[in-house]
């Protein structure tokens, strides 16, 4: 049995939805609220611009020399970086130089080595005869991303260490004898970090 005493259909029912309207005075409040929110949106938009703009434009008397100083600093940094960056050929040069200096140092007399403050590492002597006689400490300059074959070492004769500076001499001597990480650099075989 149909429960529809009013003979309604779906379209008529949906028409009823169209009659669900707020009262006229509702729109006054709506418009007022909208204007307030619109104003807030405008202020927010302007304030974010106002915060940024003076930093760049309003204080031009500070901005211009500051930016100039930044540019100069960047230029100096870039130039220095390029000068200090080793070229590929420098690795090979360094290897050749190290070999040559090793050969020269092997001819150094026993007396000259005795003058040195530093002792010679026993391990390194046994593994690399070319540098056995060389009383030197070697700084590891192998970059992390370089393959082992491209590594090179730079050698400093012990004579470069001032003999009167006993503290440095003792420290270097200790480092060599213990073969342990020193000054934040890892020690390798035949290599002394400094």
């Amino acid at each position: 049995m149909p429960n529809n005493p009013n003979n309604l259909d779906l379209d008529q029912l949906l028409d009823l939805k169209r009659e669900e309207k707020p009262a006229e005075d509702f729109w006054d409040g709506f418009q007022k609220d909208f204007r307030q929110r619109q104003l807030q949106a405008l202020i927010k938009k302007e304030s974010s611009w106002n915060r940024l703009a003076p930093a760049f434009f309003a204080r031009s008397n500070i901005f211009v020399p500051l930016s100039a100083a930044v540019v100069v600093a960047l230029f100096v940094l870039i130039v220095n970086f390029q000068e200090n960056a080793p070229l590929q050929s420098e690795y090979y040069d360094a290897v050749i130089m190290a070999e040559e200096s090793g050969a020269q140092l092997s001819n150094v007399s026993e007396s000259s080595t005795q003058e040195s403050v530093l002792p010679i590492i026993a391990e390194s002597i046994t593994e690399e005869p070319a540098t056995q006689a060389a009383a030197s400490f070697v700084m590891d300059l192998i970059p992390n991303d370089e393959p082992e074959s491209l590594s090179y070492t730079r050698e400093f004769p012990t004579s470069t260490i001032p003999s009167d500076n006993r503290f440095v001499a003792a420290l270097v001597s200790y480092t060599i004898s213990h073969d342990s990480p020193t000054f934040g650099m890892a020690m390798r075989q035949q290599t002394v970090g400094f």
Binding site: N4, L10, D15
Partner: protein, 227 residues
Amino acid sequence: MPLCFELILGISGVTLCSVNLVKAITQPFVGSSKTLSERDSDWLLVQRVQSGDVAAFDELVIKYRERIYSVIYNLTSNKEDSYDLSQDSFIKAFQSIGRFKGKSSFFTWLYRIAVNTSLSHLKKNRHRRFLSYENIAEETGSSDILEVLAAKTSTEKPTLIKELQHKLNEALQTLSVKHRTVIVLFEIDKLSHQEIAEIMNCSVGTVRSRLHYAKKQLQSELQDLLD
């Protein structure tokens, strides 16, 4: 010499003609505001807003606030949410009106903002379902159903209207958001299939099929009230 004079006159005539032509192309609405279509008059208002006339946006709000509120209310069936979401929609439209290029009508664009705002709100609050209804204007209303109900006695009519309203809103809320949107835009807001397709960013065929399914489902939900 006369030839030169005629030539100059000819060139200036062509120039004047082309200037007029450019004016006619760039300002097609000037001097004919009475014959402007709704889309064109909206576009003029939008251009005023884009050039910095904030007050022009008020005219657009006044023009569309009832329709926007209505579509949001019919989607959410909650008058408090509808108020906030309508405000949000107009603010969103105001903030992004600089990017409106006039490819579609302002009305379609605004509707799309309102529908998307409502859908994201419904998605966010799908577990919180709370309905609150607007009053039905019994005296000023002009729909058939009110005439049918007018035959009822004064004590019975408001109760019946409340009951119908409640059942109808409940039934609408059982539809999926997409089906509800289609039925609200087509049956209540009386938009065309093409307009709905533009607003919902789908094909006209999809609109038709969704509409068919939604009506079928509504009918089964409201079976007790219908024939």
